[in-house]
Amino acid sequence: MIGWLKGLIREVWRDRSGQIGLILVSLILLMAVAGPIIAADPNKINVAERFLAPSLVHPLGTDNLGRDLFARTAEGTRSALVISLAVVGASLLAGSIFGVLAGLLGGIIDRGLLVIFDIISAYPPVILALAIVALYGTGYWNLLFVVTILFIPQFARVARAQTLALRNQTFIDAERLLGLPLHHLVWRHFIPNVIGPLIILASMNIPVVITVEAGLSFLGLGVQPPAASLGTLIKDGYIYLNQSWWPTIGSAMTLALATLGSTLFGEALRDAADPKLKGRVRP
């Protein structure tokens, strides 16, 4: 598994846009991890220094309360990464379990799960998330939960398709004839065989989750103040646009670069894992 991943990264580096993606992702990661060490306190208010332009002390300027925008953007980047990894991880796990079960058990369970996935996909994702978060409260966990549910069907469909392809292979038949229990089959063969394509799908979905989270936070339904998120930073900047546009520029550029970098990286990763898919636009 580790060797496979190492090979993939080497393959990604060989591709030009993969290189750009890897560099951008590394920069974003560095900002998220090292931000709190090198930057000022993101919540320190200094009204005398509001709306400063970028300088050496404040690399991205300051906001309407004189808070350091570099520190806040770093904090926002970190929360975007944490949320997207958590959401993608949780929906990958739940999706692969549901998908493998649907594919293995078949019958009414399979059909029922498919109908539920269809129903979830029948809603425009952003609107459903918006409705649920707005109605049930804007907590951090609510946000994670709702966005995870939105992303489960995709993963489950891929896992189900993989399982169906795998189910009729001879080595599975052999294990069945040996009388090995179902959970053994699931954990030993189906999950490991299904996980590869799902990891690729997960890497492609990280920028999508970042965008959804930023969008909800922009509407005031995601991460709540005083905690910073790229979406709330852009919203705050948007409110004070006529006084200074530095707050908007810094956070919006960071968001755009984060989604661009992770998309380029994800696509290069997908091409490296399965050269047949090269040039496909979306999973």
Partner: protein, 308 residues
């Protein structure tokens, strides 16, 4: 149909299980008992859950959403008033996205592997990944507040076509930007695939000029796969129009749902969501039908699935 019924049921469940007492939320804590009772009766809250579910379903099927308790107007009218704005926005965005996307995709496919091609490829990814609300803010900043070329907010004077178009340009462009990149990539891939087919090679061997091959023959074939995408795109655009509508303060179904959720006007939000899901599902169904017309194999698989 099953999906649609399930979607309606999910919506009902979501609204039913909202924590807190709906009457207190909508009327405030100081409402008199008589007022609360009258309100409950009007909203149908005094009946059982199953009864309400039945009322909800039958009304939804008939398109009768009752009247808004706050403004006393039929909710159907409110939605019909804002829906055209969203549809116009989505169509305009699709027009921009489709037009520019096909153009850029063709330019990239003319010289695959060239500098221009790889630049366009990179630009397409950048277009796809930049969130539409970020684009909307930058467009607003540059063209409305900076250069004063275009109006800032609203949908424009309904009687003047030019005014309405001027109000449409920026939001539609912001909404379209991802689709420009997406369609450009699809178009490039599709055109390259068509260009490598035998009959095109034959034409080239006969000495037909490249421009004529593309313009007269290849382009038409390459556009076929786009039909599906554009159909799906309409649903997606209508659903994601909410950000653009809010930033540009345009009336629309997205901003209606957002505002009514924010003001806790649940019946309007419910009806708005229902209409939106209906449009979304219809767009998907439309794509399935178009696809099965193009490729009969899909029609058979649709029958097998049976859930449409």
């Amino acid at each position: 149909m099953l999906t649609m019924a399930g979607a309606i049921l999910l919506l009902f469940i979501i609204i039913q299980f909202v924590p807190g007492d709906l009457i207190t939320i909508m009327l405030g804590p100081r409402a008199t008992p008589e007022l609360r009772e009258a309100f409950a009766e009007r909203m149908g809250l005094d009946r059982s859950v199953l009864e309400r579910l039945w009322v909800f379903f039958s009304h939804a099927v008939r398109g009768d959403f009752g009247s808004d308790v706050l403004s006393n107007r039929p909710i159907g009218d409110i939605i019909l008033e804002v829906l055209p704005h969203t549809l116009q926005l989505a169509f305009a965005a699709m027009l921009i996205g489709g037009g520019l996307g096909v153009l850029l995709g063709c330019i990239a496919a003319l010289r695959p592997g060239s500098r221009l091609d790889s630049f366009l490829g990179f630009a397409s990814v950048a277009f796809i990944t930049t969130p539409s609300f970020v684009v909307a803010i930058f467009l607003l900043l540059t063209f409305s507040l900076g250069l004063h070329w275009l109006p800032v907010t609203g949908a424009g004077d309904p009687s003047s076509l030019t005014d309405r178009l001027a109000h449409l340009v920026l939001p539609a462009s912001a909404l379209a930007i991802g689709w420009i990149g997406y369609i450009a990539r699809l178009m490039r891939a599709s055109l390259l695939e068509v260009m490598s087919e035998q009959h095109i090679k034959m034409m080239r061997a006969y000495g037909v000029p490249e421009r004529r091959i593309i313009g007269r023959f290849a382009l038409k074939l390459a556009l076929v796969p786009l039909v599906t995408v554009i159909g799906l795109g309409m649903g997606d655009l209508i659903g994601s129009a909410v950000f653009t509508e809010i930033i540009f303060a345009r009336p629309g179904i997205g901003s209606l749902i957002y505002n009514s959720i924010m003001t806790r006007n649940y019946p309007v939000a419910q009806a708005g969501l229902l209409v939106l899901v209906l449009v979304y599902v219809c767009a998907n169904l439309f794509v399935d039908i178009i696809n099965s017309l193009i490729d009969p194999r899909i029609a058979r698989s649709l029958d097998l699935r049976g859930s449409g």
